[in-house]
């Protein structure tokens, strides 16, 4: 009886694997920031081309590490690789920007409409403001009823590009933050609980009353978490949105270097949401496997052109036309 079951199992797996055997698989790993969009892209692209792209959302730091170790074909990160990291990966790393996204500050308080500015935000995440009814928060929110409740800060427990974007913003707007904590994919958080990946942080905030955290816009929207309106450089309180991120991108692109490793934080403009960032796919310019090279190039080209139409509905800002042309020529340089 057992033997019969075993034979059936083998035949079943053979049947199912026959479909799998002839499809080329690409392996990638990295940021959770763009994961909702990427998973949509991989699913659609598989329908179009039959190529399977396997992606592990382990955070930007993990993506860079696995890419450097050669364990994956491409990496994904919202924090650009440093010169030292690029050297460690062989020196021929290309950063392909895919979309821009907003980092929303989410909170769980039962009240909607919270407003904060950069300095107050920094003080909360430094643990200097500990209660929701603190006067510094009340000053910015005169029409909200703030309870006397302990603030539970939620940050990332893994190495994250989203953290990089968020802490770089705090470094720009708060000299105290810059001195005490600094910026990076992983920092020594003065206070708070750690969540794993963007989903982890969203999950913790959702389940913890009185908490505040930071996640990519897609996560706050799909989970219907209340978001904070942040005071931008022009003095207006702006909610995170696709339009806010697109405005940030327009402003920041003027200063974008030719290898695309730049930031678009705290841009001037009335509609700009100040905490935004680009996200990149990391590939080697020199490819070893001919078949993989062609597949990679085709996918990247598709992502930067046809794929862009999925961005806005999933809460990401598509790349503007002039940037797309530059990115396409970079993709062509892969050999």
């Amino acid at each position: 009886m057992l033997r019969k079951l075993f034979v059936v199992f083998c035949l079943l797996s053979l049947f199912m694997s026959s479909k799998a055997l002839w499809a080329l698989t690409l392996n990638g790993a990295g940021a959770t920031f763009p994961y909702p969009l990427y998973s949509k892209w991989f699913s659609v692209y598989k329908e179009i081309s039959g190529v399977q792209i396997n992606y592990a959302p382990i955070g930007s730091g993990g993506g860079i590490r696995q890419f450097t170790a050669g364990v994956v074909d491409f990496g994904a990160s919202d924090a650009p690789m440093t010169d030292a990291e690029i050297k460690g990966a062989g020196g021929d790393v290309l950063h392909i920007p895919t979309v821009a996204g907003a980092v929303a500050v989410v909170y769980n308080l039962g009240e909607e409409g919270l407003k904060l500015d950069g300095q107050t935000l920094a003080r909360i995440f430094m643990g200097e403001i500990t209660s929701w009814d603190d006067e510094q928060i009340a000053k910015l929110n005169p029409d909200l009823r703030l309870p006397k409740r302990k603030i539970v800060v939620v940050h990332r427990s893994d190495s994250s590009g989203t953290t990089d974007i968020f802490t770089n913003y705090l470094t720009k707007v708060s000299a105290r933050w810059a001195a005490k904590v600094g910026a990076g994919k992983s920092v020594a958080w003065p206070t708070g609980i750690g969540g794993k990946g963007n989903p982890g942080v969203a999950g913790v905030v959702k389940n913890t009353v009185g908490s505040i955290g930071y996640v990519e816009l897609a996560y706050s929207e799909t989970n219907k978490l209340p978001v904070v309106a942040i005071k931008n450089k022009s003095g207006k309180f702006v909610l995170p949105s696709v339009e806010g991120a697109t405005a940030a991108m327009k402003g920041g692109l003027k200063n974008l270097p030719s290898d695309f490793r730049g930031e678009i934080l705290n841009q001037p403009g009335a509609d700009v949401y100040p905490i935004c960032g680009l996200t990149w796919l990391l590939v080697h310019q020199n490819q070893v496997n001919e078949e993989k090279k062609e597949t990679l190039k085709s996918f990247l080209r598709w992502a930067v052109t046809d794929g862009q139409k999925y961005a806005a509905q999933l809460f990401y800002s598509p790349l503007p036309e002039d940037l797309r042309t530059k990115v396409l020529s970079t993709i062509d340089s892969i050999r």
């Binding site: 382990i58 590490r65 190495s159 609980i193 750690g194 389940n207």
Partner: protein, 280 residues
Amino acid sequence: MIKGDTIFRKISFVLALSIPLLFCGLFFVVLWESRLALKTFGFSFFFRSAWDPIKGDYGVLPFIYGTFVSSLLALVIAVPLGLGCAIYLAEVTTTKFKEWLATMVDLLAAVPSVVYGLWGIFVLGPIFGFSLMNAGVLLAIMILPTITSVSREVLQAVPESLRESARALGATRWETVRLAVLPPAASGIIGAIILGLGRAMGETMAVTMVIGNRPEISLNLFAPAYSLSAVIANEFAEAVSDLNYSVMVEVGLTLLFLSLVVNGLARFLVWKTSSQGRIQ
């Protein structure tokens, strides 16, 4: 024919010996991969509180604290319950109810750690938040079967003659247990408790999902914390530098060493009392 025998015996011997050899191999491999971290931090690694991947500063004291406190918390809850249950099963009931009860408690051990974690997030989370307390209560449920079944075995290994002599003198069941059964079983029961401690210390998934992942020592049991196994689960695959990777392996080494001491001690104590050690 004799040749077949010696070959068979040799093969079996080699395979049996491969087990301790594999284990030593594990120890040395882990030691070797932590050499960078060991060289950089030396012994202070185990006694400092630090976790700053940017500056490259690491100290695992908060994790050791979290591992120990959550496990001790689990013991505080699970030992009275488990021991009481074991005494009940070994000394009090004699009916079919006993077998059913024993099976129920054993089935607790069959539920995977990740499922306990899932349950902990949604059931214990609203009560305890993400904290040491949450992890402690969850771990208590998970080590209950270990403490109960090993204690029960230890108690059953006490010779019946001791009980009979007590009963012959007119002792009640409580007095029999207190005077004739517990004293000889004492070291075995302590072994069972330490075994439970070892299990709790090694638990990974359930703890990671409810402990809050904060590398900080706080005396408040409702504050978030971190444990050795939880930080490996979260951050091992994502180590961002060679030093970070070596540190993660060294955390594994710390866990290995602590488990070895605790499990070794427990097994020794349990062996002394029951006739031979058993897999739990």
